[in-house]
Amino acid sequence: MSVIEYDVIVIGAGTAGLTATAWLAEQKLRVALVTAGEPTACLSTGCIDVCSRDDQPLAGIAGLPDGHPFHRVSPEMLGQSLDDFRQMMADMDMPYKGALEKNRRVLSAIGTFKNTCLVPATMEASPQSDDERIHLITFTGLKDFYPGYILSRFPNASFSSYDAGVSTTMGIAANFEDSAFLETFLLWLERQKIREDKIAFPAVLGLESAFSVLKQIESRLERPVFEIPTLPPSMPGRRLFNAMKDHLRRRGGVIYWNWPVVGVERSGRQIEAVTTEAQGRPNSLNARAFILSTGSFVGGGLYAKRDRIVEKVFDLPVFAPENRDDWFDQDYFSMNHGIGQAGIAVDDAFCPTDSPWNNIFVCGSILARTETLKNGCGHGFAIATGRAAARSCLERLK
């Protein structure tokens, strides 16, 4: 057994875990993040949903049912964590736009609008209504983006198609990192004689340099340009994840990849260590406190058996609608599947209630009653609770 010692171990590298780890590293704690794999952020649009059920996030949060974990985050904490997030992304040259006061709309790849709070600057010019005049650029052979969906809903839109030599999101994005490719592309674009007010792209304008690529297109074509998030592989989601990860490293945090936590060492009311498999000897990660941010079902933190739902790391008690018949609604696309409420119930310090352990803190979408989909509580909720749980963990350690 290889033994590694830290002050805090964070489990799960989603938006919540990344936020918590980076903040604790900033407070000069010795902190490590262990994760099974990459998080749901990579599948996302990169937009930060705080509470999308209402036009105003703050009003939306106020209207959440009693017992929703968002009520445990103070407005100051929420504001501060999102300000810090924006500062971090700006430092990485991937600025975000938007404000807590009002949600904005982002055009989706199927021509509908998505309500969200903060958007990557590459989506800032996204239309706010379907009568805007936009010109879509698509790429020959790109399977994950059909302009027809948008054209059918936007009467004043048209499109042209460019052959980038490759036909995958990743391949095209990699090409945009190359200045010679960009220049050839710009010359082609200028020849298209585009008349519409704005130019739209599927989100493939580069891996990490998208913002600067977009600015170059805007200045050459002299009109606003924006990206439309695509199905996974989603470049804006990956940019978000990569930036949060780099930020964490710069703050001195350590990440262990592909280390699913498989065991726990306990003593009295304390968790002493978590263990992970390795090729040779298992690793034992000792710490004074543990933050659980393993996500809900998609992330892998929760697992549904026939009769009950289990939390996979500490086997914490899971809150879920008591009657199994209430787990699912008749309508597949319904927002009211009861199982969306499943998760870990916590107190004001983000410690699990009804649990024997006093050094575990929980954050992100694994929290009970979050209902990510129904309430539009996505990354914004994960960032805010990640920060709140980390602060309460720090206070406990002092």
Partner: protein, 394 residues
């Protein structure tokens, strides 16, 4: 190997370096779990694109569901190798151990051959790329070193691997001297190539032969109270993962349990207060290119943890890019373009950090990154030795 667990999230695809630059490769999801459901039958494998996977294992590191696309593909590669004649390049690199042994016995001549235009042409016709210089064979290999005994209690059997043995025995000698400076007994057990190149070129039988020899030898040393220490991360992955896994070597578990990465081993001894190295300043700004196979070993980045103890040393960890060479992968003409494109991206990330030199645990990463950037590329052990004041004898 549980392809049924795939949720088709495409996270592995986003992490596949080859998929990004090689349009003929369908990516880990399709080549791995997706195609696997059609491979149950007895038909001959016809998907020659499986050979385009470089076995960097990045897909596995990223998958949130524990599917192992690289492992699935590796097995299909072996099956493909069984069912199809091997190309000269595949044969050559599978047998790279024998070839290198020959090369270093005739080092001056072999080096001149490989560097000459005629030599390059021959290599080219065999399907071997020559965009970075072929590594130079070393005349005085490590395996010819005289045994040096110390009076310490710790006993280490050093698995140095082909790269150090044939091309950079100086690094091997420094590592031995460093271990000895901590009063550790170091021996060089009888050993051959770990077998990874054979595996990577679809030659399962040869890989197994190598593995059996090594296991027989190392196992004796373990019984006699030695810890096995390796330094090349790809050798390490082969010893720890493939011997137990695809090669199905009995006793492989024992090897895995007693095998340590050099830096992991030093950290362990420090933690157990057995050794107390005093690190002196090293005034360098470095970019640490993490080899894909170090990630896949799941031991964290132990060399980084050690180097953090060196005063004045400034280094940035880069683990998002594969250097593209992947052992012998990039040396094949069919992979040359992809390897170059990947290498250049990895180098551009290094340049962004403002580092003056590169460090990496993997010899082939160093060859690729150093060759393409013109920068110095060191083994982390060299930096440790610099800090500890340990030099090669000569």
């Amino acid at each position: 190997m549980t392809f049924e667990h795939c949720i088709r999230c495409t996270i592995c695809v986003e992490n596949c370096p080859v998929f990004r630059v090689q349009p003929d490769f369908p990516g880990p999801k399709q080549a791995g779990p997706d195609a696997q459901r059609f491979r149950i039958g007895r038909e001959k494998s016809i998907d020659d694109w499986v050979l385009l996977c470089s076995q960097c294992k990045r897909c596995e590191m990223a998958c949130p569901c524990g599917v192992e696309p690289a492992q699935i593909i590796l097995r299909v590669q072996q099956r493909y190798g069984l069912e199809h004649p091997h190309t000269p390049a595949h044969l050559l690199f599978a047998n790279n151990y024998y070839l290198s042994a020959l090369g270093s016995m005739t080092a001056p001549l072999a080096n001149r051959m490989a560097a000459s235009n005629i030599g390059k042409k021959i290599l080219g016709q065999m399907g071997i790329a020559t965009y970075i210089p072929f590594p130079k064979f070393s005349f005085q290999t490590l395996s010819r070193e005289k045994k040096n005994r110390n009076r310490g209690e710790r006993k280490v059997a050093f698995f140095y691997g082909c790269f150090i043995n044939f091309y950079r025995p100086d690094i091997g000698r420094k590592i031995i001297r460093m271990l000895q400076s901590f009063h550790i007994n170091v021996v060089l057990p009888p050993q051959v190539c770990c077998g990874l190149p054979a595996l990577g070129n679809g030659n399962l039988a040869l890989a197994r032969t190598f593995a059996r020899k090594n296991v027989a030898s190392l196992s004796n040393y373990i019984d006699a109270g030695y810890d096995i220490v390796y330094t090349c991360t790809s050798c390490g992955l082969c010893l720890l993962q493939d011997y137990q896994g695809i090669l199905e070597i009995p006793e492989a578990k024992k090897i895995a349990e007693n095998c340590y990465d050099l830096h992991e081993y030093l950290l362990k001894l420090i933690a157990e207060r057995e050794i107390h190295p005093v690190f002196r300043e090293v005034n360098r700004t470095l970019a640490y290119h993490i080899p894909c196979h170090l990630r896949a070993l799941k031991i964290g980045y132990p060399a980084a943890d050690l180097m953090k103890r060196i005063p004045d040393l400034d280094f940035t960890i880069l683990d998002d890019a594969c250097c593209g060479l992947s052992g012998s992968y990039g040396f094949k003409k069919t992979n040359e373009a992809a390897a170059l494109q990947l290498g250049e991206r990895a180098v551009s990330l290094v340049r962004k950090t403002g580092a003056a030199a590169i460090i990496s645990d993997c010899g082939s990463c160093r060859m690729q990154m150093g060759g393409l950037s013109g920068m110095d590329a060191f083994d982390p052990a060299e930096i440790l030795c610099e800090s500890l004041g340990i030099r090669d004898k000569k």
